[in-house]
């Protein structure tokens, strides 16, 4: 039991699994350079050599196919993409190849392949470095998709992903890298399925993904002052999606806001809402509300960017609408504190 940042938790997971299993290796564009993928691949080259952690040419489609080839011949590759947007270049390998190979071989081959894709937000990076896309990945059978929101999950889920015989896409939010928390030991893994209750409450359920859990916590504080007890459910896994935990919460609260780091139409909130209305038809006192990106391209300019990305304020407003509460004064609230802390290039 140690306290680590999310960044170091990711790094520790890689270190431990590479130590335990020589078939694990890490590769991708820039994984080996001095920036070390925001520090998450620190010391891997030093400790395991350039054969087990190496930077590559720029060729996403081939890099993902490469991982498939390595995985079905005894390796456990971990491929890193600095932005999930770049993974769009490899959608063919992901949706046509990596996910189908086990099925197509009649189960003779398994594909223990981890892809880490980083999402993030802000700082004017605009519309080609802004996406999140979990619902797109979740739509493809045969792919596990997880979004750890805490250092404990960052470590535990990545370790579980590496040990898993299925392809797993781990989506990490760059803004979480500085978050601190207690993480598990060498032997501990965190399940790749199942939502978890981050904060108990009785009046309203907020189901959140990734960074939106941080916004949800903030929203819960604000709403708490107005006497609303929010239960926050960290969705954790996009596919398979655990609606049971969320439904249990909603059965209790009767209200639900889904807060997702992605576009709303055809997004994760749609799937969750569809399932919640099915499972909680009688207990839901109002329709599920969805909060996410504005359905447009991410703009560069800060004031517009702030409108593009959802935050605690929007969760509060959604909750108020559901509960028919008068809007609280958000004037004094510090909404883009992280974004203000963050300076320059990316």
């Amino acid at each position: 039991m140690k306290t680590l940042t999310y960044r170091d938790a990711v790094n520790a997971a890689l270190h431990e699994e590479m130590e335990l299993d020589p078939s694990v290796f890490v590769y991708g564009i820039d994984v080996g350079d001095h920036k070390r993928i925001f520090g998450t691949t620190n010391n891997l080259v030093e400790d395991f050599g350039p054969d087990r952690c190496f930077s590559t040419p720029l060729c996403e489609e081939t890099l993902v196919g490469f991982g498939l080839g390595a995985a079905i011949t005894g390796q456990r590759p971990v491929n890193v993409h600095m932005r999930v947007d770049f993974l769009l270049l490899a959608m063919n390998q992901l949706a046509n190849m990596v996910t189908t190979w086990s099925y197509g071989s009649g189960g003779s081959l398994r594909v223990p392949f981890v892809i880490r894709a980083i999402i993030g937000r802000g700082w004017g990076q605009s519309y080609q470095h802004c996406k999140s896309l979990q619902s797109i990945f979740g739509h493809i059978p045969g792919l596990r998709v997880v979004m750890p929101a805490t250092p404990a999950d960052a470590k535990g889920m990545l370790k579980a992903a590496i040990r898993c015989d299925d392809p797993v896409l781990v989506i990490e939010h760059r803004w979480l890298y500085d978050a601190e928390g207690v993480v598990g030991d060498l032997d501990e893994i965190a399940p790749l399925e199942g939502a978890s209750i981050l904060r108990p409450g009785t009046d309203l359920t907020i189901a959140a993904t990734s960074w939106m859990n941080v916004e949800a916590m903030h929203a819960a504080k604000i709403l708490g002052k107005a006497g609303v007890g929010c239960e926050i459910v960290d969705v954790r896994a996009v596919a398979p999606l655990d609606d049971t935990t969320v439904a249990a919460s909603v059965a209790k609260t009767g209200y639900c806001v889904v807060a997702d780091t992605d576009w709303v139409p055809y997004g994760l909130g749609a799937e969750l809402a569809a399932r919640l209305h099915e499972r909680c038809f009688d207990s839901l006192k109002a329709p599920v509300k969805r909060v996410g990106f504005a359905f447009t391209h991410c703009p560069c300019s800060r004031p517009l960017e702030n409108l593009f990305y959802p935050n605690a304020g929007q969760i509060v407003r959604a909750a108020e609408e559901l509960l028919k509460l008068p809007p609280v004064d958000l004037e004094g609230e510090d909404f883009y504190s992280y974004e203000r802390k963050f300076r320059g290039p990316f």
């Binding site: 290796f25 054969d51 590559t56 040419p57 060729c59 489609e61 081939t62 890099l63 993902v64 196919g65 490469f66 991982g67 498939l68 080839g69 390595a70 995985a71 079905i72 011949t73 005894g74 390796q75 590759p77 063919n92 390998q93 046509n96 190849m97 190979w101 086990s102 099925y103 197509g104 071989s105 009649g106 189960g107 003779s108 081959l109 398994r110 059978p141 045969g142 596990r144 898993c164 015989d165 299925d166 399925e193 596919a239 398979p240």
Partner: protein, 328 residues
Amino acid sequence: MEQTLAVARQLYRRMYLIRTAEDAIVKRYHENDMKTPMHMSMGAEAIAAAVCLAIGPDSLCVSSYRSHGTYLARTLETDRFFAELYGKCGGTADGRAGSMHLSAPEQGYLGGSAIVASVIPVATGAAFSLKRLGRDAVVAVFFGDGAIDEGSFWESLNIACAWRLPVLFVCEDNGFAVHTPAGVRHGYASITDIVSRFRISAAETSTTDASLLHAATQELLADMRAAQRPGFIRMHYYRYLEHVGVNEDFAAGYRPRDEYEEWLAVDPVTTQRTRLLEAGVAEDWVAEMERGIDAQVAHSIELAVAAPFPDECILFRDVMTNENVDIS
């Protein structure tokens, strides 16, 4: 000499098997029981036979949707082959894969793909494994002249060369992608010339003589091993049948029948048979082997026809390791 003869026999066994199996497909396809799109290897038998034999049993291979040849040359078996084509239990994936996705991982044939060029990156990853494990083996990847249009061919060529991976790129060149000729698709005169400027051993051939193809492949493999780098070989052949399906398609007008007849005059299977006899192999031995294969194929088809269709429950099997997961 003895060895050459042994190789020649093995080549012929593979080629005759491929031809016989495909002849049977042609004969029975109209019954409409093999409900899977057939991309026939007919005319290309020598390539699969030569390459699969040359790389040896420790090597691996991956292929495209046009993979009957590769599968059969690699495995020499037809029970699972026909069961798969009939969509039955006992097939390579109990009927879930079909003609375009045959595989035999336990014999080093990792599988095929119906997305053009998509297995080429897979080959680089498998070759990386072989290299890490220190194996003296290669990954042969089979693809058509259409696949070289796709970016992933170039990306994979680049990383295989940059990282000195033991990949043998085999371009099975029939001059067409479906019905579009290579000439209008390629902005260069010779792919082999271009590829040879990478850090690779490169070769090209247009013979239908399997023994020559085998020798060429062996030579290339020796060069690859000596130079510790990948290899590329372009092998020209003529696709006898339509792009997909079991019929001739000369009436369509995009290629003349004459061409076919020229190639047919040097048909790989009959060429190899003649070779064997010329080299002194007894006609009896050949005929005996052929009868054995005829019987094998006939028997496999009987088994496949008689086999049950797969049980419903396998529809969801092998999608994820834990099938109990609630995934809907």
